[in-house]
């Protein structure tokens, strides 16, 4: 399945900086892995859009939630896909207290540092998944 991509589903939350951090992390991964990583609209997935459901079921899927409500993970599972990996921004924020996202529109220097840290970890896990697939 050499054409499989990674579809990253971030949190949609607009009321907290962690939601923005989730989306910025997704865009950073897509920038670092062009052609391999893509995203999809969570609301479209949750609405039952057939094309989006097919997209996540035909590819690797990563969910990146902001908080413990796990909207991205739960809605992805509800569409019949068990994500290959799922992450939560709050957990990374707790582990990296010197990297604090500050605003909902601009997450600031701390937030951008957190985005770099999380995207590095996720890209490393993506590489591992691809390596395992080759074995």
């Amino acid at each position: 399945m050499k054409d499989k991509k990674f579809i990253i589903i971030p949190c949609s939350g607009i009321g907290k900086p962690i939601g923005t951090t989730s989306r910025e992390t997704t865009y950073e991964i897509i920038k670092q892995k062009p052609g391999l990583a893509e995203t999809a609209c969570l609301a479209l997935l949750t609405s039952g859009d057939k094309e989006t459901i097919k997209k996540i079921n035909d590819n690797y899927c990563i969910t990146l939630d902001g908080c413990a409500k796990h909207c991205a993970l739960k809605n992805t599972q509800a569409c019949g896909k068990i994500p290959d990996k799922s992450y939560m921004i709050l957990k990374f924020a707790a582990e990296n207290r010197d990297m604090k996202p500050e605003g909902m529109v601009d997450i600031g220097e701390g937030g951008r540092a957190l985005v770099k840290t999380i995207s590095k970890k996720i890209i490393s896990d993506m590489d591992e998944i691809l390596q395992d697939e080759k074995k």
Binding site: I9, P10, S12, G13, I14, G15, R23, E24, T26, Y27, E38, T39, A40, C41, L42, A43, L44, T46, S47, D49, K69, C71, A72, K74, N75, A78, M104, V105
Partner: protein
């Protein structure tokens, strides 16, 4: 009377989540600007995926309050979900109606001047609608 007053005190704004399109980011920014700066005392928001996935509190709020939906594309996820679960929306705004042929729309973050201008125009449209709705409902 008390119940009516409570119902009309706030307008809900449901924004497109649109992670996959620049218009989604414009929707969210415009919604945030209206919520936090233009109409902080008159508006509240609802997280769309949570609402669609069965957030009872959110659905009840949208049933009892006027709602403005801000969508990023013709799929109108925010409008359709609100009308499916909570009833007719007071107003539906589509970001694409604000885009001119000459606008360069390409960024999902770090918006350019065209994208920021559109977000600002959408914010103004939301704010005007909030005023209209509250004025009409509180006559």
């Amino acid at each position: 009377m008390e119940e009516n007053e409570k119902k009309l005190s706030k307008v809900g704004i449901v924004s497109c989540s649109g992670e996959d399109f620049p218009e989604g980011t414009i929707s969210r920014l415009a919604t945030l600007e209206a919520l936090h700066h233009k109409k902080p005392f008159d508006t509240t928001t609802i997280c769309l995926p949570l609402f669609i996935a069965g957030g009872e509190g959110d659905r009840m709020f949208a049933k009892n309050h006027p709602v403005i939906t801000v969508d990023g594309c013709e799929k109108l996820c925010a409008k359709r979900a609100t009308e499916k679960y909570s009833g007719k929306v007071a107003c539906s705004i589509n970001v694409r109606d604000f885009i001119k042929d000459s606008d360069e729309i390409k960024n999902k973050s770090n918006l350019n001047e065209d994208e920021k201008r559109i977000a600002s125009e959408v914010t103004d449209a939301i704010s005007l609608k909030v005023d209209d709705i509250l004025k009409k409902n509180n006559k």
